[in-house]
Every structure is written in C-alpha cells, then in structure tokens.
C-alpha cells in the first residue's frame, strides 16, 4: 500500500510502568531450564491499559506541539481493555482534550492492534478527512502462572500522531503492507483470564511466516532491500524471534539493536512494535530509513517503511526517550507481582 500524498509521524510518546519482575524470579517459583529475557515491566495497582495510553498520548501531543482539538481520531489498540464494553479511546480523547469532535474506538488484533490503528490513521489523514489522527498500542499482558508466557507478558505502550504535509513530520511513511491469514497460534476466549497458545506452532507457521511475508511484500512493492534501511524493528515476543527474523531478511544486529527492548521490558504486546519504533526514532538521524514490522497472533503482520525527517533533531528531545522509561525501574518479587496482577484470591 503506497501512499499517494505525504503522510508522516508528527509526534510520538512512550510509557512503561516502573515495576520490574526478573525472569529469574518466575523461574525460582515455577522452575524451568532457562529464562527468555532479563526482566519485564509490571503495572502498579492503579495502572491499566487506559492509564498507559493516556501517558503516552500526552507525551505524543507535547512532542508534536499541536492543539489536541485538531486531532480527529484516537484509536487504542490493545488486548487488555479495562472494560469489556466501554471504549478506552474515549477516556484517552477526554484526557488529552481532543473531545468532542473526534473518532474514538478500540482495536483488537492480539499484538498488532496498535499498528492496525496506524494504517487507519494514515488513511484518514491521507484522504484529507482530518488534519491529525492518533494511534496507540498499549497492553497490560498476562500469562498463566507457570506458563512460558509468564516470563515475558508485560506492560507498556506508545502513541503516534499522524499528519499530512505540509505538517512538520518527524518521519515520513513511504508505504505499508499487511500479511494476514487465519492461523490459530494464540487465543483467549471470552471470560478467560489467560490466553492459550500453540507452543512451537507460534514460530514458523505463525510469527516468521507473517513477519517475513509482510516485510518482503512491502520491500518488493517499494523496490527496497535490507541494505537500504539503517534500522529495523520487528515484533518482540522474546529475544530470539526478532533476531532470527532480522537475519533471515538480511538485517544486521546493529540495525535492530536500538529498538530491541524486550530483554529489559518484556513483550508489551500491542505496545511492542510501537515502543521499539519509538526507541529507534529516539536515536535516528534525518535521512535514516526504518523498516517496522509488527505481528499479531491469529495472525498477521503490518510492515511500514519510514524515512526520518529533519524536524526530528529538535523535537525528539522535548519529551522523555524510551530509554528513560527502560532505566526507571523498581524491582518487585513474585508475591508483590501476584498482588498487582490479581493472582491472589481474596
């Protein structure tokens, strides 16, 4: 999907809760042979997907330096909505001062709900329906106690505001591509607290097929190859998968390292690719090209090709970098984690 008219990111913001649970702590309680990451972020008792979304949305508005009344859409992509019925997007829109003339809704597509909202926003501003549109990917993910997912399922998010030229863009979107099939690698039924997954089935037929498929499709459409990109971001359910996807596509470790935050934060689900992209934008220079590819179970990938613009040099330092949130941490043990994540029956 090439974009006829120049659309870009005019602002972005990130937020990661400060509690950290070491993977070794999960291993201490449940056993196991290894740990897939160092540690993961955990919400405080008074945080949820909506509070995370509001925090990163506020940073995005400040970084963009725009009047929130000019934002025509607020979409929250998540699989951990605080309400089963009551949109998160309305709370975010109200909190940033974008109401009442605004589209607001929640998107769901496992871990790629946020980037799915990216594409809607790109279409809305590209068509001229609105000046700015905001897409947020945020989650407070849960893994069943003792399950492999408990090591990695974490909390965080990032918000992006899209606008059309002549708006001052930090990064221009060159094109996007989605690769979607019906693949039952991971799911959570209604009223169930924890998801189920297909273990090794989540690899080749799910993550790699879709991530690599979307990336190849987009690069083929744009006539680009791995060497044309300074940086790349791939969905980060663990450390191994994005590294393997990068190598398969011909990207070096140097290209993915800035956005690879999963070892220290965990898998923030809908926030994963948006946070990795934000961490990359934090250090990228004007002219750098970035490939970002999300993955959502069920299953599909969204790929984006971006070129960083001159405006990023000044604007990006106005608000905290992702690294600031990665470094801001307070360690908790498994008992406090159990209280915070509602695992204790009262």
């Amino acid at each position: 999907m090439k974009i006829d008219r120049g659309v870009g990111i005019v602002g972005y913001g990130a937020y990661i809760p400060m509690n950290r649970l070491r993977a070794s702590e999960v291993k201490r309680v449940w056993g196991g042979s290894g740990t897939p990451i160092e540690e993961k972020s955990v919400v405080a008792m008074d945080e949820d997907t909506i509070t995370i979304a509001v925090e990163c949305a506020r940073y995005a508005v400040k970084r963009a330096g725009i009047d929130p009344q000019e934002i025509g859409a607020v979409y929250v992509g998540t699989e951990s909505k605080p309400y089963a019925v009551k949109p998160s997007g309305t709370v975010v829109a109200e909190a940033i001062g974008a109401t009442p003339n605004v589209l607001a809704a929640d998107y769901e597509f496992a871990c790629k709900a946020g980037t799915e909202a990216f594409q809607t926003c790109i279409g809305l501003v590209s068509s001229g329906m609105m000046k700015y549109a905001m897409a947020i990917g945020a989650d407070t993910a849960q893994g069943r106690p003792g399950d492999a997912l408990e090591y990695t399922a974490s909390c965080g998010g990032a918000a992006y505001i899209f606008g059309k030229k002549p708006a001052r863009t930090l990064a221009e979107i060159e094109g996007s591509c989605s690769y979607v099939t019906d693949t039952p690698d991971f799911w959570r039924r209604e009223h169930e607290m924890y998801p189920r997954h297909g273990n090794r089935f989540t690899g080749e037929p799910a993550y790699f097929k879709h991530v690599i498929g979307a990336a190849k499709e987009l690069m083929g459409e744009l006539g680009t190859e791995a060497g044309d990109y300074k940086y790349a971001v791939f969905h980060q359910p663990n450390v191994k998968f994005p590294i393997k996807a990068a190598r398969t596509l011909g990207f070096s470790m140097d290209a993915i390292k800035p956005g690879l935050i999963v070892p220290f934060v965990g898998n923030t689900y809908s926030g994963s690719t948006p946070l990795g992209l934000a961490a990359t934008l934090d250090i990228a220079d004007p002219g750098d090209r970035i490939l970002a590819v999300s993955y959502g179970s069920g299953a599909g990938s969204d790929a984006f090709s971006l070129t960083v613009q001159d405006a990023i040099t000044n604007d990006r330092r106005l608000e905290p970098a992702v690294s600031r949130f990665v470094d801001r941490k307070r360690y908790i043990d498994y008992s406090v984690y159990s209280k915070l994540r509602g695992k204790i029956v009262k």
Binding site: D46, E47, T51, E94, P320, R324
Partner: protein, 131 residues
C-alpha cells in the same frame, strides 16, 4: 462517588482544570461555585500547571473504604508551578525516598474502582518528575 458525579468531574480531574475568579484573580482547585477569598461567582476555567514541588507529605496505612488495595500509599500537598496547592496521592516512589521540595508532575491513574462490575474512576496523582 456516584457515576453522575464522577462524570461531571472528569474534565477537571483528567486535565487538572481549576477556576480563576474574574473579580480578584484567585485560582481554586478543586472547582467551587464561589470564590473563597472574595465570594464572587464570576469564575472562569483555567488550566493548571502539571509540575510542582512537594510542600509536605504523609503515609496512609489505614485507608478509608475503597482504597485498601493501594495501602500503604503516600498523600502529599503539592504546590504547582503556578502557585496553586493540590492535595494528591503520590506514586512511583517509596516513603523512605520522599523529600520535601522534590519536583513532581501530574500522572494519570486509577483513583478508585467500584468492585468487579462498577465504574473505574480515573484522575490525577503525582509522581517524581520524569526528565
């Protein structure tokens, strides 16, 4: 808090909006129907600063109903950079690290949750400034 009352207060609690008296210029938060210093009812909405410093603080270990799961928690008197004083919970810091005068900023948090089926009340709390 009733759902209608929460709804009436959302804009003020979400965005830290207070009132300025058109007669004497006093700024009040939370909002009130009457200016405390001069009694005027000619009041205008005003956006308050989202950063400030801690004037004084305490630890709540025996909270009122509805706040048990958050205990122990910090409550602080925060003087915003525009001079308005706000009483608020303080988050993301341990009591042992608290210092009078420390810089803080507004955060968006759950304030109270009405069981498993009721409304989730959101609003401001304060946390150490993230720079």
């Amino acid at each position: 808090m009733s759902v209608p009352r929460y709804w009436r207060e959302t804009k003020y609690r979400y965005r830290l909006i207070g009132q300025m008296c058109a007669q004497c210029g006093s700024v009040m938060f939370p909002r009130s129907g009457v200016c405390s210093p001069c009694g005027s009812v000619d009041l205008e909405e005003v956006k308050l600063a989202e950063t400030g410093h801690v004037v004084t603080w305490t630890v709540v270990r025996n909270p009122p109903a509805g706040y048990m799961e958050y205990a122990p928690y910090l409550v602080a008197l925060v003087e915003l950079d525009d001079g308005v004083r706000v009483l608020s919970q303080l988050v993301d810091i341990e009591p042992i690290k608290m210092k009078t005068g420390m810089r803080v900023e507004a955060a968006f948090r759950r304030v109270k949750v009405d069981g498993n089926s009721g409304i989730i009340e959101y609003g401001y709390k304060f946390r150490p400034l993230i720079e």
